[in-house]
Amino acid sequence: MMKKLISTFSKVPLNLVIIIIALIWILPSVGLLVTSFRPSADVAASGWWTIFEHPFNFTWHTLENYQEVIVKIGIGKAFLNSLLITIPATIIPILIASFAAYAFAWMEFPGRRLLFIILVGLLVVPLQMTMIPVLRIFNKLGMAGTFPGIWLAHTGYGLPLIIYLLYNFISGLPSELFDSSSIDGATSFQIFFKVVIPLSVPALASVTIFQFLWVWNDLLVALVYLGGTPAVAPLTVRISALVGSYGQDWELLTAAAFVSMVLPLVLFLGLQRYFVRGILAGSVKG
């Protein structure tokens, strides 16, 4: 009993340190959330933390900011654009990468090893190295400022990591699977769709949320290939423009920013397991 009491007390500093770190981490986001619901006059007059002076008084909040940014400023449209960009830009590369990862993992062909080493090198090539030539070609083909253009760009840029992660998983599947399937006379396509894909669901889930978050949160690729036209601009591009034009209207900026965070946060909280698994597979192996 006494021993337990001592060990509980000796843990007080540890708990304190952890809780302080957690508070520091969460505080900036709380400020954003609270401010997005405060009337503009309040936001300009006092800090967001003052609402906690009357913790049971909820009259301070308003939905006006959200109405204004979503409808009038066009964040609703930008949200739709983000979805229209992100969904195909997630599905296409994963489809193409699954085929490639399977071939790299389980087929013999000349140049396999060299190609894969090039792929590993491409993992960290800065996108800046590619933008001017691709943009020139896009301009010639009329693909700059269009959704298909950015879908393809995100596909090309996403492939190295997706192939790499899927390869790590698929090459770890037991080899007997492939032997017994081919004895039964299955073709490689049948093995791919009936064996490899179903078994790879956990890895596919990881890369899906990876690529989804990457594309959804991307600013640079969208800026370069889509530009700032409200008809096609995603949330990140629109919000970074708002930071310039609505610099001190914090109630609007915070509401717009929160709209852009809702979907990633829901995905993150729901599928955190797969997200973590993907990160671990991508960085520490062997």
């Binding site: 843990k11 952890i18 770190i21 957690a22 981490w25 900036p28 986001s29 954003l32 300009a44 007059a45 006092s46 800090g47 933390w49 193409i96 490639a100 071939a103 087929m107 062909f109 396999r112 190609l115 080493i117 590993v120 090198g121 491409l122 090539v125 800065p126 800046q128 190295m129 590619t130 001017i132 030539p133 691709v134 393809l152 760009a153 596909t155 090309g156 032997d179 490689s188 959804w216 949160n217 991307d218 600013l219 640079l220 949330l235 990140t236 919000i239 970074s240 914090w250 900026l253 915070t254 920013a257 965070m261 946060l265 993150f268 909280l269 973590v276 990160i279 671990l280 520490v284 062997g286």
Partner: protein
């Protein structure tokens, strides 16, 4: 497996084509046009590179990226490690880890808005609505223009935002590595009378060295490419410019494709050691397989 010779190529051709079109060919072409003038019509030799290494704003960008490496990398790795080790000892570990990890899910643009508000600055006569200056006001200190004050304060302010975002990433990887250390090893050391600090320095750190190296190289690559945070929060003003933002400006604002390409090539050259490390690590893994 029963496959025809052509089958593997059916599987990899779409990927190889897209990788060539979006990464390999453009990288070669960018290197080529970095030796030409702004519209790629006139050969200028190494003039664009000379510009990069003599222009004052470019030199500021190099200095700032160096500052990011020196401050950001140790901070994220160290904080990630400390948090991973500390939360391992409490029951509410997963909640805290989710909290610290959460910034990874949101965009750098969103994080930029969050932190611009934290750093908000008003004249001393007005009520401070940014939390940092409100704390200073409560302590009877003058408000600070966090994102404007040169040369260190504003750059450190931006770096802190990066740390806030990436520490969770480091923590997740380091936590997995820490948990794979056999507990008996730590218990044995405790029984032998080693204190917690000694255990940390003499046992935990050496065992986690390979993972720490992986995390640190990942962070270095991130830092060299840092763009969004700077673009959104200061756009490189007040001496906060970084290489990637400079490249964007040369490309899109000044339309100088020669200089923009030269900057991109320099960025690649800085990252090449990391590419080599990546390939070596891959080869080692393949050897183990």
């Amino acid at each position: 497996m029963r496959t025809r010779k052509i089958t593997p190529w059916l599987y990899i051709t779409p990927a190889v084509f897209l990788l060539t079109f979006f990464l390999i060919y453009p990288s070669i072409y960018t290197t080529y046009i970095s030796l030409f003038n702004y519209n790629s019509e006139k050969f200028v030799g190494i003039k664009n590179y000379l510009y990069c290494f003599t222009n004052e704003i470019m030199l500021t960008s190099f200095r700032n990226n160096a500052l990011w490496v020196i401050v950001f990398v140790p901070l994220t790795v160290f904080l990630g490690l400390i948090i991973a080790v500390l939360v391992d000892r409490v029951k509410y570990e997963s909640i805290i880890k989710s909290l610290i990890f959460m910034p990874m899910a949101i965009s750098f643009v969103g994080a930029g808005v969050i932190w611009k508000f934290v750093y908000d600055y008003r004249p001393a006569s007005a009520a401070q609505t940014g939390i940092l200056n409100a704390i200073r006001a409560a302590l009877n200190l003058e408000p600070l223009p966090w994102l404007i004050q040169k040369p260190w304060l504003n750059n450190l302010g931006l770096i802190i935002v990066g740390v806030w975002i990436w520490t969770g990433f480091c923590m997740v990887i380091l936590s997995a590595s820490y948990k794979s250390i056999p507990r008996e090893l730590l218990e044995a050391a405790r029984v032998d009378g080693a204190n917690e600090f000694k255990i940390f320095w003499k046992i935990i750190l050496p065992l986690m060295k390979p993972t720490l190296a992986v995390v640190a190289t990942t962070m270095i690559i991130n830092v060299l490419k840092v763009f969004d945070i700077v673009y959104v929060m200061t756009n490189g003003n007040f001496n906060t410019e970084v290489i990637a933002n400079r490249m964007y400006k040369e490309m899109f604002i000044f339309r100088n494709y020669g200089r923009a390409s030269a900057i991109a090539v320099i960025l690649l050259v800085l990252i090449i050691p990391m590419i080599i490390i990546n390939i070596q690590r891959f080869r080692e893994q393949e050897a183990i397989r």
